[in-house]
């Protein structure tokens, strides 16, 4: 009697089982991979704003410090977007009749808020605090990239948990002196400088869950 299962069925079984396994693994992995793709994280996707605000001009050309407008970064969890009257502090003197800032003038006149579009958005179960990062030697550029070279701001960091943990597990190389926080181009003089800074700041590796999740 001929064998019910000829020898090739062994191979076929292996192939089918392997394919099924790959399918299951793929089904599990695919959403995880997808969630980390730029499409999902939003990395590199410039966000259009109701006012064509150009950071290149304000930061690089005019030399306005980040903290002049994002003043909450040193004191609050949120860096904040400046109130319209902060913008008007300069713009009622310069470019005050430019059609580009018509929404700004309307906001100051009527009190209507400007609907700025969020570039960096963390999930609601994540509690990030700007103040403690900024005052402990993490520069703006570490997370936000070269905003001074962006026309429309886009996200540089992936803002995934892994991305946060990469730094939280080894914060030392990202440290900088407090007076260089807003400097986009600062580099350490020597490898030992950040080690000294870590000692000065008392930098800790905070990786327990309630550091961010509360």
């Amino acid at each position: 009697m001929a064998a019910l299962f000829p020898p090739w069925t062994n191979t076929a079984t292996h192939v089918v089982l392997g394919a099924l396994g790959a399918l299951v693994a793929g089904a599990l992995a695919a959403p995880m991979v997808c969630a980390r793709m730029p499409d999902a994280t939003g990395v590199g996707d410039p966000v259009l704003q109701p006012i064509a605000f150009d950071h290149r001009h304000h930061v690089r050309d005019d030399g306005i410090d980040c903290l002049y407008c994002h003043e909450g970064a040193e004191r609050s969890a949120f860096a904040g977007v400046p109130a319209a009257d902060r913008c008007m502090g300069c713009h009622d003197q310069v470019w005050n009749d430019s059609p580009l800032i018509a929404p700004l003038r309307a906001s100051v006149e009527t009190g209507a808020v400007i609907h700025w579009q969020r570039v960096h958005s963390l999930p609601d179960f994540v509690y990030f605090d700007h103040a403690v990062h900024v005052t402990r030697g993490i520069g703006c550029v570490s997370c936000h990239g070269r905003v001074d070279e962006m026309a429309a701001v886009y996200q540089v960091g992936r803002l995934t948990m892994r991305w946060c943990l990469d730094c939280h597990r080894d914060p030392e190389p990202r440290l900088r002196p407090r007076d260089q926080i807003t400097n986009s181009t600062w580099q350490p003089d020597s490898p030992g400088q950040t080690t000294a800074l870590a000692r000065q700041y008392g930098t800790r590796r905070l990786t327990h869950c309630s550091t961010c999740h509360r």
């Binding site: 909450g72 609050s76 906001s107 700025w116 958005s121 999930p123 179960f125 509690y127 869950c209 999740h213």
Partner: protein
């Protein structure tokens, strides 16, 4: 299936599908469009199923009414919809900065404002946190004498009432929208008539600004009548003091000076306008460090179990109507021991013949001996639900003991005209019946609901041509009046009030009025035709006129004006007037069954019944939520043949059987009956039933409506207490939503109790030592990381079970409300619960209360069993719960010996509507299927850490206060770091009666307790 119809729908559906598909671009828009697509494809199938079902109930599967194709469409789209429902909605992607940012504000940093919350006219100073102009959390004001940094549960829930979507929003005339001009016309006509036919019904007020306004109204409109009404404002104490001293006076206590306190049906630590201060004063004298600590002695003589009874060293249950007899016996015993010459001979002779009833002779004698042993250092207090004579006797005993001026003082009433005829609601009805009222202004309160049965206010209002109600809700009174005007919440208005001790307190708003609305002052100013002005300017002008010595700005900063407490007045006991009253005390023979009506500890007189937080907060003794019950003793329940939940028909007898303390003005309804489920309270006095007021609401407040029945329907007149009632078992029952049904701890070492004398001896100390220290464990104990190591200690001696901590926890941590049905299923979500256990004999049990939340075990059983590491341990000793990791296996809850973990069985959180504005933005709002529990307020810990690091200073354990610790009136909760050797929490752990619950489990909990130590009188059994 009608095919032509399907084709038509198919065309529409096709359009919808195409629209949706066009929108499936990328990101969240795509998801939204997919939901739309699923809905579009589900449409005809659902329609088909709907259409088929009613016409053809017998249709079998495969019947043309539901084709296989439709079924598969339905199933497929259903599956897609379920899958998509799992995705949370698209988060907000906008940042909306201020157009002009207020200089004091940094987005993300909350501001705190000092203001006051007012009840029955008396202010409790609070500090309210405001996130970008949104009030989120109420804390006590440490600088305010009626708060001392603590609040009750009611104040904690104030923000939810502010954001109550069921508040009145429109001016209405008989339910239809009306213009403000209509109200103005009424006010103008009243003014034109010089107040003729006008009557005002206000809540009692203590505000000098409001008082000035009322005086101006009286001067400008001399014919107008003014009545003040609040059902539970102090009344009996004022009238009793009038009896004793010849004029209505307010009793002020200084309980720190009292070695012996006798509470005659007086819930000093929970029900009094000064309860927070009195709770602190009593507990300051009862903090046990070791067996040698000095401790005051507290006697509670009461019918129902109260918070004061919980902390008392001796509690004697006596039905309310018999307490005047007890008071008389106590007076006789005290005077007998003192041999005082003060009372007239007739009274002395009468008292000499008073012998205590045999069953209470031992303790009356013992208490009298204690009192006379501590002259000037003792106090006898009568409760507001006791007749005047008990207050007068208490005053007489205090006078005899020389306590006046030491532990007891008297001030003129703080509330305007308190104790005078203008506080009699029956006067309003009499005036209406005379035809003297054509315009009635009811400004605040809910008198139609809270009026005693003898005051037929609802019908009377109907006979008034123009009646206007101003208040927060469309409730019974608003509906009885012709016009209803939305009022202002206390967090929306400017004003002032005095605390019970007279301290002046400014009130400032936290937010613009949410629904427009007008304050009482607005209406009175309009009535006087004052020019329109800003409310703050008006307050500032009046303040500088009336309180010239204390600038308003400074007062607003502090939340109180120091040194404005009412001065104590010299008093002379009028023995002559007292003698006949005291002689007659307790002469009445008790009825077979009597009723006591008390304000509910959380909804008070019904003004807070529409607040779901307060409804779901378990009543401290019965643990009942979302309901109102007839509390009765086990023996009385057996006599009536009822068990927990059996419905009782309670009927109060008509006027023929009345034996009250005052003449009832209007005719009583012959009988009134309400139906309530019975609930058995061990330790309740026999032959008496206690019912909490505030339920049985019948207005437009949907949350409150239809819960329980109103005790006010059995209330015959304002100064009549403990009427005879009949109770008949109805034969049916209603399941009660109780969070702790078991009464006993089954002899497990949970809430340990002991006596002060026992603590001094080695036996008890050694026994307690078995409940702390190291335990063998299979698991390796983690070494403590450097830095803070958080721990908590709860003193069960001073814990009154008042539940303010439970409410504060819910307010701080966004714990959801689940409703009565889910509470019955054991699914309440409070992170902190207060367990209560009865000990001792069934007729005189001792209640032990124990706050129980996550114990933050160092060797936490929950952590070992979590398959996804959603619950882990932090280096600073917290048992962390990471919601976004939790997959809802509930293994952790299964393995928790303390049963403190809560699971979101359903999506309990509010999704839309105003109430979400009360949420704390620093705490994640949990979703369905996620476990949660006490975090030691980790958001406050991390905030303190960040603040310390930003300010470049070391973190101190005292920088962090948990919500429960901060609110506790008796400061029973200590929290801090174990690494600071002089911190309160470490000091607590060194005390001999510090112990860990379920210590034998080897969980090494970070929360430890101080055993409940009583200081019983050795002369009593």
């Amino acid at each position: 299936m009608p095919t032509d119809g399907f084709d038509l729908e198919h065309g529409v559906r096709q359009e919808a599908l195409e629209r949706a598909v066009a929108r499936v671009g990328h990101g969240w828009h795509g998801i939204a469009a997919l939901v739309e697509l699923a809905a579009a494809s589900a449409w005809p199938a659902e329609r088909a199923a709907h259409e088929a079902a009613p016409d053809d109930p017998g249709a079998a599967p495969g019947d043309p009414a539901l084709s296989r194709r439709s079924f598969l469409q339905l199933a497929g789209s259903g599956a897609a919809a379920v899958g998509l429902a799992a995705c949370s909605s698209r988060p907000s992607r906008e940042i909306l900065p201020y157009a002009s940012q207020p200089p004091e504000l940094t987005p993300g940093v909350p501001l705190h404002y000092a203001t006051a919350l007012v009840e029955d006219g008396f202010a409790t100073g609070v500090l309210v946190a405001s996130h970008e102009g949104r009030p989120t959390k109420v804390e006590g004001n440490p600088d305010h004498p009626a708060s001392l940094g603590a609040t009750r549960a009611i104040e904690q829930a104030a923000v939810l009432q502010l954001f109550d979507p069921e508040r009145a929003r429109l001016i209405t005339e008989r339910g239809a929208p009306a213009p403000w001009a209509a109200i103005e016309a009424v006010l103008d006509a009243a003014r034109a008539a010089r107040g003729d036919g006008l009557h005002l019904v206000l809540e009692p007020t203590t505000s000098p600004i409001a008082i000035e306004l009322i005086r101006r109204v009286r001067a400008a409109l001399p014919a107008a009548g003014v009545t003040f009404w609040s059902p539970f404002s102090p009344r009996a104490s004022l009238a009793g003091n009038r009896l004793a001293f010849g004029r209505p006076l307010q009793t002020q206590l200084e309980l720190r000076a009292a070695d012996v306190i006798v509470a005659l049906d007086a819930d000093l630590v929970a029900e009094h306008p000064m309860a927070l201060a009195y709770a602190r004063q009593i507990s300051d004298r009862r903090r046990v460090v070791d067996g040698g600590s000095a401790m005051s002695r507290l006697y509670a003589i009461e019918a129902g179990y109260t918070a004061t009874g919980v902390i008392a060293d001796h509690r004697f249950s006596v039905r309310g109507s018999q307490i005047e007899r007890v008071a008389g016996e106590l007076l006789a015993a005290v005077l007998g021991r003192l041999g005082l010459a003060g009372p007239p001979p007739a009274l002395t002779a009468r008292l000499a013949s008073v012998a205590p009833a045999a069953e209470r002779a031992p303790w009356i004698v013992a208490i009298a001996a204690e009192l006379t042993g501590a002259p000037g250092r003792s106090v006898v207090v009568a409760g507001e639900r006791q007749p005047l004579v008990v207050h007068a006797i208490a005053a007489a005993i205090n006078a005899a003991l020389g306590n006046l001026g030491r532990t007891v003082g008297y001030t003129e009433p703080v509330a305007f005209e308190a104790g005078q005829p203008s506080h009699d609601l029956a006067g309003v009805v009499r005036a209406i019946d005379r035809g003297a009222v054509t315009r009635l202004l009811v400004l605040g309160g809910n008198p139609v609901y809270t009026a005693p049965q003898g005051v037929a206010l609802a019908g009377a209002i109907g006979r008034v041509a123009d009646s206007v109600y101003l208040g927060l809700y469309d409730h019974e009174t608003a509906r009885a009046c012709r016009y209803a005007v939305p009022g202002l919440h206390e967090l929306e208005q400017w004003g002032a009030a005095r605390a019970y001790d007279g301290t002046l307190t400014p009130i400032q708003p936290l937010i613009e009025p949410l629904f427009g609305g007008r304050s009482v002052a607005d209406v009175l100013h309009r009535l006087l035709d004052d020019p329109p002005a800003d409310a703050r300017d008006r307050l500032a002008a009046a303040w500088s006129r009336l309180v010239p010595d204390a600038p308003l700005e400074a007062a607003l900063g502090l939340g109180a004006v120091p040194g404005t407490a009412a001065p104590h007045v010299a008093v002379e006991l009028a023995w002559g007037a007292l003698a006949p009253v005291i002689s007659a005390a307790g002469a009445r023979s008790p009825a077979p069954l009597e009723l006591a009506i008390r304000p509910h500890p959380f909804v008070h007189d019904g003004r807070y019944t529409n607040n779901p937080w307060l409804l779901e907060l378990p009543e401290p003794i019965t643990k009942l939520t979302w309901d109102c019950a007839a509390q009765l003793s086990p023996a009385t329940a057996a006599r009536l043949g009822v068990a927990d939940g059996d419905l009782l028909a309670l009927t109060v007898a008509g006027p023929g059987a009345a034996g009250g303390d005052t003449v009832v003005a209007a005719a009583l309804a012959p009988t009134a009956t309400i139906e309530l489920p019975a609930i058995i309270v061990p330790g309740h006095a026999d032959d008496a039933i206690t019912v909490h007021a505030g339920f049985g609401r019948d207005g437009g407040e949907h949350t409150a409506r239809g819960i329980g029945a109103s005790a006010f329907r059995l209330w015959r007149s304002a100064l009549e207490f403990h009427p005879a009632i009949t109770a008949v078992a109805r034969g049916d029952r209603r399941p009660l939503a109780i969070t702790q049904a078991e009464l006993s701890d089954e002899d497990r070492p949970l809430a340990l109790t002991g006596t002060l004398a026992g603590l001094a001896g080695p036996a008890v100390r050694d026994a307690l030592a078995h409940h702390r220290g190291a335990q063998p464990s299979l698991y390796a104990r983690r070494p403590h990381a450097p830095g803070a190591q958080w721990a908590m200690s709860i003193d069960l001696t001073t814990c009154t079970g008042c539940s303010a901590c439970v409410m504060a926890c819910a307010a701080e941590n966004n714990t959801p409300v689940v409703g009565a049905r889910q509470v019955r299923n054991g699914r309440e979500m409070h992170w902190l619960r207060i367990d209560r256990y009865y000990r001792g004999p069934a007729d005189a049990p001792v209640l032990a209360v124990q706050p129980m939340a996550c114990q933050h075990c160092e060797l936490a059983p929950c952590e070992y069993v979590c398959p996804v590491e959603a619950t882990t341990h932090s280096p600073d000793g917290l048992n962390e719960m990471t919601y976004n990791r939790c997959i809802g296996t509930r293994f952790c809850s299964n393995n928790c010996p303390y049963k403190v973990r809560r699971f979101n069985w359903f999506d309990f959180k509010d999704h839309r509507g105003l109430r979400i504005a009360a949420r704390n933005p620093d705490v994640t709002v949990r979703d369905r299927g996620v476990m949660e529990k006490c975090t030691y307020c980790v958001q406050r810990i991390r905030r303190a850490e960040i603040d310390a690091r930003v300010a470049d200073r070391p973190l101190a354990g005292s920088d962090v206060r948990t919500a429960c610790q901060q609110v506790c009136p008796t400061q029973a909760i200590a929290f801090g770091s174990l690494t600071e050797v002089d911190s309160p929490v470490v000091e607590h752990r060194r005390r001999p009666h510090s112990y860990a619950v379920l210590h034998d489990q080897g969980t090494a909990p970070r929360t430890q307790y101080l055993a409940r130590i009583r200081n019983p009188n050795g002369a009593l059994p």
